[in-house]
């Protein structure tokens, strides 16, 4: 099986004197209670997450804070997206739901899924076959704009449409 990746020591920066460079090696037990040892397991590195590409003519849509309802603008974009999908019947699409970084990550994962599902249901109501559409939520991961201001937050509250091979 694959060579065991050596644990990567985490070097400290010049911050607190009490923190020091770390031995990434396997820790041994020590006397009294046998200090736990931990190391990195062997993993087979198959990357089954195929890298979808954003389809230019499938535009992303945006949402208000802590909301997953479709605004009139979002609906208009989805109507165009549905036209494109009906014109390309063999195109499969993954709808990715995102949030801005405020809020608990887990709540945002759930909210991101809600946003992706809202887009999916609307596309289906426009006649796009459901089996062509899949949904995933990334919550506040992978922001379009990592800045911490209202404009960036607005950019990140979105659903994207990625074509799947």
């Amino acid at each position: 099986c694959a060579k065991k990746p050596a644990p990567v020591p985490v070097t400290t920066d010049d911050q607190a004197a009490a923190q020091q460079a770390v031995q990434g090696v396997e820790e041994m037990g020590a006397g009294e209670t046998g200090i736990g040892e931990s190391m990195i397991g062997e993993e087979s590195m198959d990357d089954s997450m195929s890298m979808p590409q954003t389809v230019a003519s499938l535009e992303r849509i945006y949402f208000n804070f802590d909301r997953y309802d479709l605004s009139p603008e979002a609906q208009a974009i989805l109507i165009n997206n549905a036209e494109y999908l009906k014109a390309n019947p063999d195109q499969k699409v993954r709808i990715e739901g995102y949030c801005d970084e405020r809020g608990s990550d887990e709540y945002n994962l759930a909210l991101g899924e809600r946003r992706a599902l809202a887009a999916q249901k609307y596309l289906e109501s426009l006649g796009v076959a459901g089996d062509r559409l899949s949904v995933i939520s990334y919550g506040e991961e992978m922001p379009l704009d990592p800045a911490q201001n209202e404009d960036a937050y607005a950019m990140n509250r979105r659903a994207e449409f990625k074509s799947m091979p």
């Binding site: 644990p7 985490v10 009490a18 006397g31 608990s104 990550d105």
Partner: protein, 409 residues
């Protein structure tokens, strides 16, 4: 045992001496590291006033492994109430450390420990004895020798890490090159569970700490997130959305489904168990905004916990059952609060710039660990349960978040 004092009340004067070599050549680095780790833990506890070592007299240079060999007068003269002494011995890589804790006022030994291990276990040995010092003084062991799991993206991907309670000995545990989120320790401390997108969907994974062996535990389509072990370690609560909506579910530790806990149109997420495992705090937007609710698993009723604020999240029930910590969005910033499980006596713990999120309790309920971006980059911070003693513990490098505290080790 010295009478109990709460942090902030009058502190106990402690003389924390450098341990002396029991045989062989002196090793100042070992003596200094043992001393400094102990001093930082005592400081964090808020229970002690540490005397200035410059004032120590010659008895500080003797190991004093038995009370008969300690010159208590010297220490009483300095106003010390308790005294930490001892010695060390290094044979090759084998390290032997003898700690003693004396009650200076009553001139007697409170506790002593001998640790045998390797040179690199020196910090853990000091943490372990600091736990014993707290036990002698308050009746309850400290958490300093436990570990903290967290997420760091220093490699360019969010991976799972482990570190000591003072941030040292950081070690990367996963190599998924995807997104790993929200770890939780099993009560016996041998295992960590966490969510990962490694296979293209947010699935729940488990990892044995001693072997590094990893497996998928729950991988229904959609969300398998925010998993928390029940305190008895026999079941896991998490949020899954395969039913079409994010609901709280109960799984066996083999991943088998035991029970569906919520059937509500709202988002139900972030479960946190009461110590007895009969109640569950969680976040739901069933009343519009995200608020924290408490569900009675036996009776089945669910009541809202947070009366104030418009966005409350990530509840964490203290192991002693007395408080529930959570984060609240107020004027665009997240701060950490605690409240009694009946919703009364709400207290705000953090102030100032930055979002403070994801609070988690230490196993002895004295401390909270959380993430904050107050210095521009998310880091892991620790503070006492009353909000004092804040210090950052994660090293620089990446954005660190989602801390989880292991049980007593």
């Amino acid at each position: 045992q010295v009478e109990i004092r709460a942090p902030g009340q009058q502190t106990i004067a402690v003389a924390n001496t450098q341990l002396v070599p029991l045989s062989g050549t002196p090793l100042p680095a070992i003596a200094a590291e043992l001393h400094d780790v102990m001093a930082a833990d005592l400081e964090l506890s808020g229970l002690f006033r540490q005397l200035d070592p410059a004032a120590f007299l010659d008895d500080a240079r003797r190991p004093g492994l038995t009370s008969s060999r300690v010159d208590f007068n010297q220490w009483a003269l300095l106003g010390a109430e308790i005294l930490i002494k001892g010695g060390y011995q290094l044979q090759g890589e084998r390290l032997l450390v003898d700690f003693r804790l004396y009650d200076v006022v009553h001139r007697r030994l409170l506790t002593g420990r001998r640790y045998a291990g390797l040179r690199r276990d020196v910090r853990t040995m000091a943490h372990k004895f600091a736990d014993q010092v707290l036990k002698s003084v308050t009746g309850r062991e400290g958490p300093f020798s436990s570990r903290i799991a967290y997420i760091d993206n220093r490699t360019g991907h969010k991976e799972l890490y482990l570190m000591d309670t003072d941030g040292a000995n950081a070690l990367r545990l996963t190599d998924h090159r995807s997104i790993v989120l929200n770890p939780d320790f099993s009560p016996n401390g041998r295992e960590v569970i966490y969510t990962s997108y490694r296979r293209g969907n947010p699935d729940l994974y488990r990892k044995q700490l001693s072997t590094g062996q990893e497996a998928r535990l729950a991988f229904k389509k959609g969300l398998n997130i925010a998993a928390r072990f029940r305190p008895d370690g026999r079941e896991i609560a998490l949020t899954q959305s395969a039913t079409g909506n994010p609901e709280l579910m109960l799984l066996g530790t083999d991943g088998s489904r035991r029970r569906r806990l919520t059937s509500h149109w709202g988002i139900d997420v972030d479960p946190s168990w009461s110590p007895a495992g009969d109640r569950l705090a969680f976040v739901s937007d069933r009343q519009g905004n995200p608020h924290i609710f408490v569900m009675d698993l036996l009776g089945g009723q669910t009541a809202r916990l947070t009366a104030n604020g418009k966005y409350n999240a990530t509840p964490a029930w203290s192991p002693d059952g007395k408080r529930i910590a959570f984060t609240r969005l107020e004027k665009g910033v997240f701060d950490i609060y605690t409240v009694r499980p009946d919703g009364t006596d709400e207290r705000r713990l953090t102030f100032g710039p930055g979002n403070k999120e994801h609070p988690r309790w230490s196993p002895d309920s004295r401390f909270l660990v959380y993430s904050s971006d107050q210095d521009g980059r998310k880091g892991i911070y620790i503070m006492r349960a009353d909000g004092t003693g804040i210090r950052r513990i994660s090293a620089g490098g990446g954005q660190c978040q989602h801390p989880a505290w292991s049980g007593q080790r």
